[in-house]
């Protein structure tokens, strides 16, 4: 996938929209990476979604760094949050928030 200016604009718009929510009462989709620090052989079964999200995450990080300068920890959280919101389901998980209004 090519990340052009329009795509990145839309992604940053999603960061702004999602980060303005009231996190104290909102269900927020998020991805985590499993990490085994015990040194044993990995029992992790790779999955296609992990590979797809990893590639997209890498590309978005590179595009945002190129546009805005070095990433911060908050940037990483925001990027993962948008990816999770967009990719958990066929529609964005945050779209269900209107059900409460």
């Amino acid at each position: 996938m090519t990340i052009d200016d329009d795509w990145l604009d839309a992604f940053e718009d999603d960061i702004v929209r999602l980060s303005r929510r009231d996190y104290s009462v909102t269900g927020v989709a998020m991805y985590l990476v499993p990490e085994d620090l015990t040194g044993g052989p990995s029992a992790v079964t790779p999955d296609p979604e992990g590979e797809r999200i990893g590639k997209l995450f890498e590309e978005v990080c590179a595009a945002m760094e190129a546009r805005n300068g070095p990433l911060s920890g908050s940037d990483i959280s925001h990027i993962l949050e948008v990816l999770a919101d967009r990719h958990f389901l066929d529609r964005s998980l945050s779209s269900f928030e209107s059900a409460a209004k």
Partner: protein
Amino acid sequence: MMVLPRTPHETAAELAAGFRHGRAIHLINYHATPSTHREQYRAQIAACAGRFDSLKDRGIEGLMQGGGARPILAPILFEGFRDNYDVLCPILEEFGFVGWFFVPSHFLNVPARHQRIFAARHSLHYGADEYPGDRIAISWTELRAAHARGHLVACHSRNHTALYRDTSDEVLYDEIVVAKKELEDGLGAEVNTFCYLYGAEYGLNPRSDALLVEAGFKYLFSNYRLQKLQ
């Protein structure tokens, strides 16, 4: 404030590699879950039904290892608020899911009259006060009941405390060792997962890392990773 053991650039590279060679763990993070938002939560969880397996079926190792036909959904219930039990638990159970309660153990032992000031002083944020004059924390009885129905419980420190490189040994002991005992005593069951306020990860503070292992925690839940410690 979030503090990382390595630079954000290095962290992002590690995470990308972790996703590409491992798995993406699916969470929905909740904090307070007031009844005013019940339909929102219900719509979210209903949409996940049929798409995800329950954490109850495959547990934390299932999250770590993957391998099922469907990914596991881990609804995370941070802070130990009473409305997690009253509002979100029934929704999760209706659709066959269980939640993972991340509880600052001392919050549950604070008398009801003082829970709001405790919350204000310890970054425990909630919306409208739905229980005026009454407790806002989940009770031990409710936590035990949820656990008995298959919901998971993790230690979210003792006083909802963040980790920094210079956090003192005394604070670490209270927030890790005492918290584990307090939570296990109240729950009546072992708790093997820990999470700091702001989600510090392994490697930030070697004294904390050693104490987590010594205390018997098996997993550290952080901002970007679920780390198996032992």
